[in-house]
Amino acid sequence: MSFLPYAVAAWLFVVGLYGIVTSRHLVHLAVCLTVVQSSTYLILLSSGYVRHGSAPIYADIPPVATAVDPVVQALTLTDIVVESTITALLLALAVQAMKRFGSVDPTALRQLRG
C-alpha cells in the first residue's frame, strides 16, 4: 500500500507519453504533456510525506507538531508555475501552426514550408 503513490506517478508518466506518441492534435499533445508533468508533482509530494504529519503551516498547530517536508511542496509550486507557462507557450504555437499550415495534426506538419 505504501508504494501506491509512486505506482500512480509511474503510470501517469507512461500514459502521458503514450498520449504524446499517438497524438493527432496539437492541443491534445499539450494536455498529454501536462499529464506527464503531473506525475512529477505526485513524486515530489509523496517523497516528502511524513506519516500523520500535517501541512507545514504553523499558524494553527503547535510549534513542535510533526509536519511534512516544506521543500518539496515549494518545488511542486515551482513545477506548477513552469507547467502552466509552458502550456500557454505550446498552445500559442498550436494557434500559429493552425494559421500557417491549416492543420493541427502533428503528422501533417512534417514538411517545413517557409
Binding site: S2, F3, L4, P5, Y6, A7, A9, A10, W11, F13, V14, L17, Y18, V21, T22, I43, S46, S47, G48, Y49, V50, R51, G53, A55, P56, I57, Y58, A59, P63, A67, V68, D69, P70, V71, V72, Q73, A74, L77, T78, V81, V82, T85, I86, A88, L89, L91, A92, L93, V95, Q96, M98, K99, T107
Partner: protein
C-alpha cells in the same frame, strides 16, 4: 514513420521504461517514511528564524528565493514569448470587435459581484502568504481571474479597458524587476543577495517575516500581469477567428 510503426516502437520501450521506473521508485524510502533531514530542520527553525508561519512560502520566497527568482524569469520569458508568437501576424485584421452577443443584465450583475469578491480574495491571499496557505503565485492567479470574469460576462471590450495591454506588460515587468531589486536590497543592507533585511515583526501578524511579504506582493503583481497578458493574447486570436478573420477558417 507510420502511426502503427510508431506505436510498435513505443509499446516495448514504454514497458521497459515502466519497469525501470517502478524498480527505481521501489528503492526510494516508503511513502510516509520521509528520511529528512531538510524538511525536519526547516520545520524546526523556520518560524523562529523567519517569523513566517507558512513554511512553504518561507522556503519559496526566502530560503530558496534565488531559485524562485529563476522561476519568476521563466514565467516572464514564457509570457514574452507567447506575446511575440501571437502578435506576429496580427494587425492586418484587427477591426474593432463588438461585445459578445447574449450577455444579459443578470449575468453582468453577477459578474460584477464576482469581480469584487475575487479581487479582495486575491489581495488577501497575496498579503497573507507568509501566514496561511497562499502567496504571490496563488493570489496573482486569483487577481487575474477577477479581471477575466469581466470577459466571461461577455464584455471583451470592457476587459481591455479594465486591463489594457500596456498596463499588463508594465505589471509583468515591474513585478519581475521588484523581486530582483529586493534581492539587491539584501545585497546592500545585509551583504547577501536576496537576504531578508527587514524587521521580522511578530510571528502571525500581517507585517511579519520581513521581505517575504514584499516578495509576495511583487510576484503577485507579476503573475496577475503575466496571466492576463496571456489570456488577452489568446482572446484576441479567438475574436479574430469569430469575427470572420481571413485566416484560420
Amino acid at each position: 514513420m507510420s502511426p502503427r510503426g510508431r506505436l510498435m516502437l513505443f509499446l516495448p520501450s514504454a514497458a521497459g521504461l515502466l519497469f525501470l521506473l517502478i524498480d527505481a521508485l521501489r528503492r526510494l524510502p516508503g511513502f510516509g517514511h520521509y528520511p529528512g533531514p531538510y524538511g525536519f530542520v526547516l520545520n524546526g527553525v523556520g518560524v523562529t528564524e523567519r517569523h513566517a508561519t507558512n513554511l512553504v512560502t518561507a522556503v519559496n520566497f526566502d530560503y530558496r528565493a534565488f531559485d524562485t527568482l529563476g522561476e519568476e524569469f521563466i514565467l516572464f520569458t514564457a509570457t514574452t514569448a507567447v506575446v511575440l508568437i501571437l502578435r506576429h501576424i496580427r494587425g492586418e485584421d484587427e477591426r474593432g470587435t463588438a461585445r459578445r452577443e447574449g450577455a444579459s443584465n443578470a449575468l453582468r450583475g453577477v459578474a460584477l459581484a464576482f469581480v469584487a469578491g475575487l479581487i479582495v480574495l486575491g489581495g488577501y491571499v497575496v498579503a497573507h502568504g507568509a501566514l496561511t496557505p497562499g502567496g504571490g503565485f496563488q493570489g496573482g492567479v486569483i487577481l487575474a481571474c477577477g479581471a477575466f470574469v469581466v470577459f466571461l460576462a461577455g464584455e471583451a471590450v470592457a476587459m481591455k479597458r479594465v486591463a489594457p495591454e500596456q498596463l499588463l506588460e508594465f505589471a509583468d515587468a515591474a513585478g519581475a524587476a521588484g523581486f530582483a531589486l529586493l534581492g539587491v536590497g539584501g545585497l546592500v543592507f545585509a551583504g547577501v543577495f536576496l537576504q531578508n533585511f527587514l524587521d521580522l515583526g511578530k510571528p502571525g501578524s500581517l507585517n511579519s517575516a520581513g521581505t517575504i511579504l514584499l516578495v509576495s506582493i511583487a510576484i503577485g503583481i507579476e503573475v496577475t500581469g503575466a496571466f492576463l497578458l496571456i489570456w488577452t493574447e489568446f482572446l484576441d486570436q479567438a475574436l479574430l477567428v469569430r469575427s470572420g478573420g481571413s485566416e484560420g477558417e
